[in-house]
Symmetry: C2
Amino acid sequence: MPFQPSVLTIQFPEWIHPFLRRYPAHFPSLEARMSLVIEAARLNVTNATGGPFAAAVFETGSGKLLSLGVNLVTSAGLSILHAEMVALVLAQTKLGSYDLGGPGLPAHELVTSAEPCAMCLGAIPWSGVRRLVTGARDGDVRAIGFDEGPKTAEWRAELEQRGIAVIRDVERDAAIRVLRDYSLGGGTIYNSREQG
Amino acid sequence: MPFQPSVLTIQFPEWIHPFLRRYPAHFPSLEARMSLVIEAARLNVTNATGGPFAAAVFETGSGKLLSLGVNLVTSAGLSILHAEMVALVLAQTKLGSYDLGGPGLPAHELVTSAEPCAMCLGAIPWSGVRRLVTGARDGDVRAIGFDEGPKTAEWRAELEQRGIAVIRDVERDAAIRVLRDYSLGGGTIYNSREQG
């Protein structure tokens, strides 16, 4: 008879609370939103809690921060815990709904330090966010050795078809610096197994 | 100052334990593996714990069941909890590793009642499974109204390039029946917001 646990518990890094305490509840500009995210990506590396990626969900209009996620693949031991997934899960937990675009809710956006991999791209339409804001490009991520997975080249058009606007290159240089510093520091590049 | 929880807890449905108790620990044939998964997809609907999808991780060689996942989007309130994601998370929790293909481990496979959506497809290369076995085709899923998301048409080649074999149409007719019964029963089709 096979066995499996009936509950799964995911612990978030301890440095996140004191980090968030330094910030206000609202972030008026896109640059302010992205700067929070990029700083979290940097701290995720220096605290050794995961890869150089962070993401956050905001109310688009008011700039209210709903959730902050960082990449927890190595520390939680779960390959799906990319920063975007963590941010979406935390935002949906907070609102008590699997649809951040549901009736009666303000519009939400996902702000991410780098363009999403194939998995996170696929998660975005199911989440209910209405806008994606990105820092580094997927080519910048590939440049330090990460694979972005089986991702369609038409990904921005595919999101827009589904009512999700895309704004890219926000604070891109600062986002690239976090990736480069991670690479220069010898950070783990966990990847799929490319053939040939 | 923004706030977010420091722990996330996901509860799995109560019917899974008594259901698994009816089965042996090992499933020799692909048909036996898929039949377990399809039956779980059906029970997920009749128990009202989620959509008509299930997936499981097996040791490819021995057929040992490592984990069984079902779609928990509506019951857990989290859009990323597709069956494949749940199965992968449970398998990695059991092995204590984010890489099911890591050194010293036997080869693992993901058996899923339907071809994966864009998100679950993207999750597969990061998980470390070396084979994907599917029942219903993505066109069968679309036929009852689900969107499969921004998924590349070249998805099988993309997986194979990453060392992941794909075997499709295993017990496809039985898998389609679960989808059709869900649709005829008026099951929720939660989707992205298609424009125009």
